[in-house]
Structure formats: C-alpha cells, structure tokens
C-alpha cells in the first residue's frame, strides 16, 4: 500500500495520508476550514459535530452531492467538489 493518496479538490490535487476522512483532508491538507455556504445567509460552514449528526459538512464526492464529509474515508483518486470553490 502506498504511503499517500491523491484527491482532487475543486480541480486542485492534494496529497494526503490514507487514514484521512474527506473532512480531515480538506482541513489539514487543503487548509480549508469551510467548504459549504448556507442557503440564506451565505455563511461558510465546515466540520461541527464530527460524527454525522449535524449535516454542516456536506460535500460532493465523485459527482454525488450532499454527502457528509466527516463520514467518508478518503480514497485515492476521489474527486471532491465544494460550494466554496474559489471563495477562500
């Protein structure tokens, strides 16, 4: 097994340790504390409960929308799209 894996985050490649969740990859490797905007106030949101309860951490993975980033183990080649693209 290789030591690192690569994900694409909004078109940029990041290299991470294989044990990361998608949320942890976004925070630790992509240095993105937030990756979603709220419907009404357009506020940035990231990880809150960390265990799949709050739905703050929603993200699109391999084309599938509204998945909880805190629950998804990162896999080599995953394509992550956030609604924070370019607004960092």
């Amino acid at each position: 097994m290789s030591e690192t894996i690569t994900l694409s985050v909004d078109g940029e490649e990041i290299t991470i340790e294989p044990k990361r969740t998608v949320a942890a990859a976004l925070m630790l490797a992509a240095e993105r504390p937030a990756w979603r905007r709220t419907r009404f106030n357009n506020e940035p949101r990231g990880l809150f409960c960390g265990i799949g309860v709050c739905f703050d951490c929603l993200v699109t993975v391999n084309g599938e929308a509204s998945l909880r980033a805190c629950l998804i183990p990162a896999e080599d080649g995953m394509v992550i799209e956030t609604s924070e693209r370019g607004t960092r």
Partner: protein, 497 residues
C-alpha cells in the same frame, strides 16, 4: 457509486443496535449464550463514540488515545471469534431507520449509510424476538454568538477527529461548556500536538463536594480526572470555573474568543469579559443527548433524567416497557463507557435468555453480580456528575438578537423570542411550525436542547412531552430524501403480508 436497490430480509435471535461499549458487550454476551446475533452499526469499525479509532492498517497503536482500550480489544476479539463461527453477523456501515412492534416480535428497517455504501443501497428488514438498543449519544449544545463560524466544533467531535486522524483539527483551542469530558478533550488536543488556551467550565465544581462518596465509589474515574488535570497543569492550561465562552469572533472562521464569568444562576456577570486571541478551534460541549428516537418509535416508556435528557425506562434486566426491547448504555442515562459495558452485558444476557438461550451456573451468577455492582456505582457517580454540572439556567444572557439558534434553517434568536412571546409557540413543536427551528437536515438534533429551554417548557411532565416531541423523528438516522424515495419504491411489494 451505482445504486442497486433491493430489499433483503433477515431473521435472528437477538439484534444489537450500536457497536459502542454497550452494544459490543451485549453482542458478546448474547452470542456467548448461544444466540444468533445481528450487530448493526453506522460506522465501519466497532467501538462506538468512546473507542472510535482508525483502522490498524493506518494506526499501529490506536490504544494511545484511549482509556479502557484493553476492554475494547477483549470485546473485539470475542466478536471476531463469534463472527468467525457465524454466531454473530456484523452489519457495519448500516443505520437503523425505523423500529416497530410486529405481531410476532420486533421489526426494523435498515439501510446502508450512503457515505459508506459502495453500490448496494437497498433496505433490509429485520425481525427478531429480542432487540438490544445501544445507540449512544451525541454532544449537547447551547448556542452562543459566533458558534456557526468554521473552527467551532462539538467537543466530542474534536475528540473523535483526534482519535481517528491522529491530529488536532486546529492549532490553538478553547474548550468550553460543562463536565469532566472537556478535560479529556483538552488532554487529547495537547497529546495530538495542539495548544489549549483555556478550558472554560460553567459550573463552580463545589457541586461535587456533597457527592464525595459517589466519586469514591469509582476510583478509576478519579484517576482519569487526576491524569487530565496534571497534564493540563504541566502545560499551564488555565481551567476557568464558573466561566463560559460568551462570543466567538472571526471573519471567515473562528479567530478570537470572549469568555465571561457566570453568576450563581449561570447568567453572565457584566464587565468580567476576557479575550483569547489567535484561537482557531473552539470545542463546545454541554453533556450529551442520548439518541432516543428509536425508543420513542417503539413506543417504550421514557422519562427525563437528572441532566434533563430524555431516556428510556428499564428494569433491573435492562428491559424496557416494550416486550423484547432491551436498552443499554447512554440511552438509559448518560453514565460513561464502564456503565455502558456492564449494562450491555446484563442486557445481552437477558435478551438471549428471552430468545431461549439460557446459561446458568456459579460463574455466570458471580459475573452478573459484579456487573450489577459496577452499574450501581457508575450510575451513582453519574448522578453526582450531573448534579455538579447542570446546564446554566441563565445561558440566554449571552445570546444576541442575531445569534443563530437553529444552524440548519438559520433561525436567529430574536425570531424565536418573537414567536414564543407573541405566537404562543410554547413548545418545540410550535416553534417548528412558526420558525422552522429543528426542521432542517439535522432534524433538531443540534438545536433541540436549546429549543426545549426556549419554548419555556416547565415541569417534568411538560419537559418530557417537549423532549419526546423533539425526539419524534420518522426516521432514526438522518437520511437523504433522494435515497429514501428510491428505497420506498422498492419496499412496497415485500411489505404486503
């Protein structure tokens, strides 16, 4: 991920829901008695919230983040063996959506967690004479100005992140709320290489004094606490009592924290503000909320516990008011992992007995006696802990008009106040209708505790009604509507008989 929807049916002697301390103990006990066990858990790996860990492939020494790791490895070994012999089937990465009484036993519908499902997404229906429900809890929250900023997390979420990632989700943290759990989260941040600027404890801790006896009954808890305190002292972390985080500031993320002293009623004392700059992680925790929705769905008797939580009522065998439904762990009252294990063993044994697998003998009797004593001691300790760490009655004193209460539907405090004052939304259900509080993705799991307080439910009976209204969700696990629509279409033909 392709979507293949099918409905499968399963039968077994005992279903255990939740593979945390309680569920693992229940599954090992029931299978040891000879019962055929189906263990269902949302996560991919067993352990629950307490023993949450990365796979061994990724972390050679997960035990370094844990207490009681030996107990976990023993239970995991028993489980592995029982899976090997076919006595236990572990349905990981699946959540239980509904539970109901059927004519012949208890019925569940189960679905793969969409985030973890590779391909198959169909529903599974399960029927069994006995179910041991061990769903655990999640962090209890109170809103505070700025708590929606990225970098603000549930204290348990901080802990879970560190246990699985081996790194802290921030560089410099403030932990705040109430309860000894804050100390354990702070210790983890330090152990993971982060810095802790302060731990803010809303209680003044004198509440422990009259309960010294209860604390003495559980020496391991005292030791664990002493370990944290000495680690924090070594790192010169201030442990601020009768203090709360009263505002979190930042543009795109948390950057700075204001803390204030609280008076005897838990209200902010004006002019006592202090600031911590350069803080990128705030962990908030006000105890835990047991996941009671399945208890409510089954129609089992509930009550309000000493910490204000809605919990299931059980007898000495952990049996609920519903025939065949056993409850163990936090769902019978937040009391920690050791109590959960003892209750899980008692419940697993009783459930197997009910399903016809009966073990007798002196060894079993002695073990059962030990579990009863453990349960009693840890329950007494928990009562002392809850009494010493109440929710501060005056917490609304730190709210501002625009502070978000419901994070999903972005409902500000003033809208709820207007609603409770003018529209007589005197209970959380009324708040839902008038303000959409609790109607979003999380179904009121995060704002529920605040909604119950704000709806001014007074008296234990009204409180229980309010809490049951909050916990009354058509589905126990949050599920995406698209998945549900697809699965629904598939279930109908099989539901017929």
């Amino acid at each position: 991920m392709s979507k293949e929807n099918s409905v499968r049916q399963k039968h077994c002697d005992v279903v255990v829901i939740g593979a945390g301390p309680a569920g693992l103990a229940a599954a090992s006990q029931a299978s040891g008695a000879g019962a055929q066990v189906l263990l269902i858990d949302q996560s991919l790996r067993p352990g629950g919230q307490f023993w949450r860990h990365a796979s061994e492939e990724h972390d050679a020494d997960p035990g370094r983040w844990h207490h009681g790791w030996n107990t976990y490895t023993q239970l995991a070994k028993v489980l592995e063996r029982a899976i090997g012999t076919g006595r236990v089937e572990h349905l990981s990465g699946h959540h239980v959506l509904t539970g109901e009484r059927t004519g012949t036993g208890l019925g569940l519908t189960v679905q793969p967690v969409p985030e973890l499902a590779d391909g198959v997404r169909g529903l599974i229906t399960v029927e069994a004479p006995a179910v041991v429900l061990c769903p655990g809890a999640y962090d209890r929250q109170l809103p505070v100005p700025g708590w929606t900023l990225p970098g603000v997390m549930a204290a348990g979420g901080v802990q879970a992140f560190i246990k699985t990632q081996g790194a802290a989700p921030g560089r410099r943290a403030v932990l705040a709320g109430t309860g000894p759990f804050l100390l354990s989260a702070a210790a983890s941040v330090i152990q993971a290489g982060g810095e802790v600027a302060a731990v803010c404890e809303a209680a003044d801790l004198t509440g422990w004094v009259p309960h010294g006896v209860a604390a003495a009954l559980v020496p391991s808890k005292g030791l664990e606490g002493a370990e944290y305190i000495s680690l924090l002292a070594k790192h010169r972390v201030p442990y601020l009592r009768r203090t709360a985080v009263t505002a979190i500031h930042g543009e795109q993320r948390a950057e700075k924290v204001t803390v204030s002293r609280l008076d005897r009623h838990g209200a902010v004392v004006a002019g006592t503000e202090k600031h911590f700059n350069d803080v990128d992680l705030v962990g908030l925790g006000w105890g835990f909320v047991p996941q009671s929705e399945l208890v409510v769905q089954f129609g089992a008797q509930t009550r309000i516990d000493i910490d204000g939580s809605l919990i299931g009522v059980v007898d000495t065998r952990q049996h609920s008011s519903v025939e065949g439904l056993y409850l163990a762990g936090e769902i019978t009252g937040v009391a920690g992992a050791t109590a959960a294990v003892a209750e899980g063993r008692i419940a697993g044994y009783a459930a197997a007995w009910m399903a016809g697998y009966r073990v007798r003998g002196a060894r079993q009797a002695a073990a059962a006696q030990r579990d009863k004593i453990l349960r009693a001691n840890h329950r007494a300790f928990a009562r002392a802990m809850h009494t010493a760490h109440p929710l501060p009655a005056g917490w609304e004193s730190w709210m501002q008009e625009e502070t978000t209460v419901c994070r999903c539907e972005e409902v500000p405090y003033h809208r709820i106040r207007e609603s409770t004052e003018t529209l007589s939304a005197q209970e959380p259900r009324g708040l839902k209708g008038t303000t959409r509080t609790g109607m979003g993705w999380c179904q009121g799991r995060i704002c529920g505790a605040a909604a119950i307080c704000l709806a001014k439910s007074s008296g234990d009976q009204r409180k229980e009604q309010a809490a049951r209204a909050v916990a009354k969700r058509p589905l126990a696990a949050p599920v995406r509507l698209s998945d549900l629509a697809e699965s629904r279409a598939q279930t109908r033909p099989l539901k017929a008989p």
